[in-house]
């Protein structure tokens, strides 16, 4: 018997003839294995991704619903009043008239005379911001009084609008030089995603607004609401909406 096996066509034909019944099942089996990797696994990954996306969208829907409820329940009159107060405290522009009125009123209440004024105006149309990161209008004034009068003037000015801050005090006998800043802030263009959670004012903030609403002011705020840009456009949201 010849033990050497040679793979010639005769041998292959013989092997095929003996095992041809097994060919089709093995082909089916291997095709199934390939299909598992090519279709089943990707489908499974897609399902996991779908489930994750559904969870995210459900959370987003809850935020949207809460926002809608919050907006519906917010009293417009109170909102307008609070906004008006905040705009008086922090005007949209360099409000020279209200600054002068505040200074005059503070001096009058303190019983002191006013000397010269000096505004550091800069570009009237341009917003300037210093180290405080909020834009401000710098004013230098002279008060015709010493420490007592200066202290009373500053105390009165601190409870007048727009909001101001004393940067430096220089008292020489009966004259006081004050460097003041009056803060303002432009109304920016607002880009809001509707699913950003709307937060009501805290009780501290509400109390603060209530307190400053009783302060005197020389300003009349211009209440123009900037256009709200929403990433998901719908017909109702694209118009400019004044108060």
């Amino acid at each position: 018997m010849n033990k050497d096996i040679t793979l010639d066509s005769q041998t292959l034909k013989s092997l095929y003839g003996n095992n041809k019944q097994y060919v089709m099942p093995f082909v089916m089996f291997f095709v199934s294995l390939i299909l598992i990797f090519v279709t089943i696994l990707p489908q499974f990954n897609d399902l996991l991704s779908t489930l994750s996306q559904r969870e995210d969208e459900t959370a987003k829907l809850q935020i949207l619903k809460n926002n809608l409820i919050f907006l519906t329940n917010t009293d417009e009159t109170t909102l307008n009043f609070e906004l008006e107060t905040s705009l008086k405290a922090l005007p949209q522009t360099k409000d020279f008239e209200s600054v002068l009125k505040s200074i005059s009123l503070a001096a009058s209440k303190a019983g002191v005379g006013l000397g010269n004024f000096e505004f550091k105006v800069g570009n009237i149309l341009k917003t300037e911001s210093g180290n405080d990161q909020l834009p401000s209008l710098a004013v230098k004034i002279i008060i015709n009084d010493g420490v007592g009068g200066a202290a009373r003037f500053m105390t009165n000015l601190a409870t007048l609008l727009p909001i101001s801050e004393v940067k430096s005090v220089d008292i020489n006998g009966n004259y006081t030089n004050l460097n003041l800043v009056f803060y303002y802030k432009n109304l920016p263009s607002i880009k809001v995603a509707p699913d950003v959670k709307l937060v009501p004012l805290s009780s501290k903030q509400t109390q603060l607004l209530k307190e400053i609403s009783s302060w005197d002011s020389g300003s009349t705020p211009f209440l123009a609401v900037p256009e709200l840009e929403s990433p998901t456009a719908s017909p109702a949201s694209n118009s400019s909406v004044p108060f």
Binding site: S86, V169, I171, T232
Partner: protein
């Protein structure tokens, strides 16, 4: 009779085993194909059932409702931003009026402030008096403010001079604010 030469039974045993083997292989192949098919259909159906489309549809309805209240939303956002800014200003604002009021609260009668400057976290003052006792009382009141941590962190006396012309004393000092 030699039973070893029973050709019929030997062929039947080998043939039967081969048939079983083939049948098993065929069964496994069929089950595999069927399983893959069923699994694919199942996964497809689950993807359709758990599709987020219905949630997104609800979101669009709510967004449409929010869009009607867009001006209210804008006002709320502006209000929140502004109140935060106002709070920040009040937190950082130095109340120099309170400091000065506290310093002159217990001011002895015969002391006058020649000059005083306040800048950031420091007060520099020159005070004059004809009485050393009054100046001493003034320094004591400042010392009390430092001990009570009332506005002042530190008081440094730079100079004490006698003005020969007026016979008055001139005290120069610096105060560091808390």
């Amino acid at each position: 009779m030699n039973n070893d030469i029973n050709l019929i039974s030997g062929d039947l045993g080998v043939s039967q085993r081969a048939t079983w083997k083939l049948d098993r292989v065929k069964l496994i192949a069929k089950v595999t194909v069927l399983g893959v098919g069923l699994l694919s259909i199942l996964l497809f159906l689950l993807s359709r059932v758990f599709s987020p489309q219905s949630i997104i549809k609800q979101q669009n309805e709510v967004i449409a409702g929010i869009a009607i209240l867009a001006d209210k939303q804008a006002k709320l956002i502006v209000l929140n931003q502004r109140v935060n800014d106002i709070s920040t200003i009040f937190k950082k604002r130095k109340n120099y009026d309170l400091v000065l009021s506290a310093i002159i609260a217990d001011f002895p009668a015969n002391i006058s402030i020649t000059s005083l400057s306040v800048d950031k976290s420091k007060i520099s003052a020159i005070v004059s008096s004809s009485s050393l006792i009054s100046l001493n009382d003034f320094i004591d009141s400042l010392k009390g403010m430092v001990e009570k941590k009332q506005f002042l962190k530190n008081v440094t006396i730079n100079n004490l001079n006698l003005n020969g012309k007026t016979s008055g004393y001139i005290l120069t000092l610096d105060m560091d604010l808390l």
